[in-house]
Symmetry: C2
DNA sequence: CCCAGTTGGTGCGACTTCGTACTATACTGT
DNA sequence: ACAGTATAGTACGAAGTCGCACCAACTGGG
C-alpha cells in the first residue's frame, strides 16, 4: 500500500504534510476538502454539488427519507436539512409524502425530474469515481474498510 | 481490521450504508460530514470550527503561508481564502507580512493571540482525536495509509 | 526593453449554512 | 384523561462560501 510514488504525467502533487499534523483527523480534513473540490467541479455541469449528489443518491437508494433521517446521514442540524428540502422542492426535484404515523413529519422523495437530474450527475460522477478507484488500485478494499472503521470510531467518539 | 462490532454503551450507531452507495467517494463524504460535525461541536467553546482549526494548525506548522498556499491546502477557491484571511485579521489572530519577492502576494502568520486561540482549541481537539484513535485501535496505521492513498488518488484524478 | 499573457489577490453580490427561537404533534406516567 | 416532557420540523437572521469581474505585478518571447 505505501509508497506508490508513480506520479503520472505532470499532474499536480498534493502539498506534503508536516509530521506534527499527520493525524487521522487532519488527514480526513485534507481528503474531505480535496474530494469536495473534485466533485464540485466534476458535477457542476449537471447543476449539483457533491453534497446534493450524495443527498439525491440517498433519497434514491432508500425509498425517500424523513428530514431527521437526512440530518443523521449528513450529520447536519435540522435547519440545514430544511434548507435542502426547500431547495429540492423549488427545483421540482423532490416532494413530500405525508406520514400517517407521525403527522409532524413526512417523507421526502425524488420526483421524476429529480431522478433525471441525479442520472445526469451520475454520468459525471462515475468517471470521477473510476479515476479515483484506478488510482487506488488493489488498495481499494483496504481503503473502504478504513473509511468504515473511521466512521464507526467517530460515532463511538460521540457523534450524536 | 474488520468487524470490530464492540458497540460501547448505548452509543448511537451510524446508519447502515446501502450496498449500491458503498463506494470510496460516498464513504469519504460520510466520514467527512461526521468529522466536521464532531469537530465543530468539540471546538465550539474555543470559538473555532474544524476548518479554522485546520487553518490555524497549518499556519502554525509552516512558517505562515501565502493565500495561494492555503487555497491549495484547503482545495478552496481564492475568494474563500480571502474571506478567511479577513476573518482571522478581524479577530486579531493573523497578520500579513510583505513578500519582497512578489509584491502581489504576502505571507500570513498567526499572531500571539492567534497562537493562544489555537492552543485553546487544541486542548479540545486532542481529546477528540484521542477518542477516535482509541476507536481505531491497532488499525490506526492502516487508516492513515489509506487516507494518504486517497489523497494521492484524488490529485492524480485531477485535483488542480 | 516592452507588451501579451499569466498569476496572486480582492470587491461584490447571490446563495448557503446553521443558531435561536418557536409551533405542532407524539409520548409518559399518574 | 392530562399534565409534563420529548421530538419533528420551520421562520428568521447573522455569518460564511464562492462565481464573476477586476486590478496589480510578474514573466517570457521578440
Amino acid at each position: 500500500m505505501r509508497d506508490r510514488s508513480t506520479s503520472v504525467k505532470g499532474q499536480s502533487e498534493p502539498p506534503a504534510i508536516d509530521e506534527r499534523l499527520d493525524n487521522v483527523l487532519f488527514n480526513v480534513w485534507l481528503v474531505s476538502r480535496a474530494t469536495n473540490g473534485l466533485l464540485d467541479r466534476a458535477l457542476r455541469p449537471a447543476g449539483l454539488d457533491g453534497d446534493e449528489f450524495a443527498l439525491y443518491s440517498l433519497l434514491l437508494a432508500g425509498d425517500g427519507a424523513t428530514p431527521s433521517d437526512l440530518a443523521r446521514w449528513m450529520a447536519a442540524p435540522p435547519t440545514t436539512v430544511s434548507s435542502y428540502v426547500k431547495r429540492l422542492e423549488r427545483r421540482g426535484h423532490a416532494e413530500r409524502e405525508a406520514n400517517a404515523d407521525d403527522r409532524r413529519s413526512y417523507r421526502l422523495r425524488l420526483t421524476e425530474a429529480g431522478q433525471a437530474a441525479h442520472a445526469e450527475a451520475a454520468a459525471l460522477f462515475l468517471p470521477a469515481l473510476a479515476a479515483v478507484r484506478a488510482g487506488l488500485g488493489r488498495d481499494e478494499g483496504a481503503v473502504t474498510d478504513a473509511l468504515h472503521a473511521v466512521r464507526q470510531s467517530l460515532y463511538a467518539a460521540g457523534d450524536p
